[in-house]
Symmetry: C2
Subunit: 237 residues, 2 copies
Amino acid sequence: MTKLDVCLSPALIPLFEVEKYIVVIIDIFRATSSICYGIDNGAEAIIPVAEVEECLSYQEQYPHYLLAAERNGEVVTGFDFGNSPFSYTKEKVAGKTVVLTTTNGTHALHLSRNAKKVVIGSFLNLTAICDWLKTQYDDVLLVCAGWKNNFNLEDTIFAGAVANQLIPAGFRPDDAAIAANDLYEIAKDDLDGYLKKTSHSERLKKLGIEKDIAFCLQVDITHAIPVLEGEKLVKLK
Amino acid sequence: MTKLDVCLSPALIPLFEVEKYIVVIIDIFRATSSICYGIDNGAEAIIPVAEVEECLSYQEQYPHYLLAAERNGEVVTGFDFGNSPFSYTKEKVAGKTVVLTTTNGTHALHLSRNAKKVVIGSFLNLTAICDWLKTQYDDVLLVCAGWKNNFNLEDTIFAGAVANQLIPAGFRPDDAAIAANDLYEIAKDDLDGYLKKTSHSERLKKLGIEKDIAFCLQVDITHAIPVLEGEKLVKLK
């Protein structure tokens, strides 16, 4: 029976043998939502890097790449954009390569890079990614990027949304997947209302990105599944 | 406003400045349940140690101490007992000192020892510990011992039971405390039934300790609050 495990924080990734899993990276507000949107909108590739300095070093070699850097929820000064989904529209990214560093999402991605496959999930491509996972017959590990290595609700609720589709398909959940699924059951009819209770929602509100939050909570508006190939996230064929 | 934070795994303890909190250690199946029961039954002290070898070294110096060691759910060969609550009755522990090492609970305890205070929680003393926390006006960190550094449901559900009493008293929950509280709301009317879904419950069942599990899910049957003083857990005065 295929397993469905949930890793609630990047700090817990070392507890899992990632090479035995397909890993889904989850950073709902906002990195993985924006990556899904950008790849769906025809970005040729998105290159996740851990450090702001790495972003800059790409610019020297590839001056036509777009540079995106976010730290603590804000665009880093001097960069083209951060991780707002509204920066990943067709007009801005179609045919382009984006080099991206974020506070939490790219960190989780780098720690998971030895997995069988690393794909990117968000509410935007929820059913697309679940349908694909059901065809793979591999154990699945959902990695919540969290906030600065700690648990957060929005990534866990999304993990629960995936569990909600995969458990009925026969995947065996671990304790964290059971918890995530139960929390999703509570939240699903009003995701925005449920997440308004959270500390991170407050933090993001102070940054003036309520529109981004509403955007990231749209379900099934894209179909592309971003997958890590070498150092690049590209559209899964 | 006093904070109520929940640390879902010992691996996440470094994310918190424990010296700013009263820490409650939670290892429902079975270490902290047995400690609460033992202290309530008049044990003079319970000394938590990290390693089996440390237990043995106490024996040389203090031959009248009882030695308790559990690894992977079983009593370590040659020890007086492990962490089954039925080993912590009045008859066995009143007036005695027990040196205890367990897979998860004592590990979490050692990582939290620099807190303002370290106390021990379980369903057995749930309301006693909540009532006491309400009188302290200190930030509270609930540390789930989990299973081998990963998340588990039973410790999280208990954290939720504490949150369920402290949030209405004005404590401000972090994301993990909100999640724990919501999971407790689902589980509270049938704790045993809810936890039967978990992997750990399966594991414990194989060890033949269903009676221990039922015992550990009894609510408010004790009043003592074990507190760490130096190296010893004693009854809070």
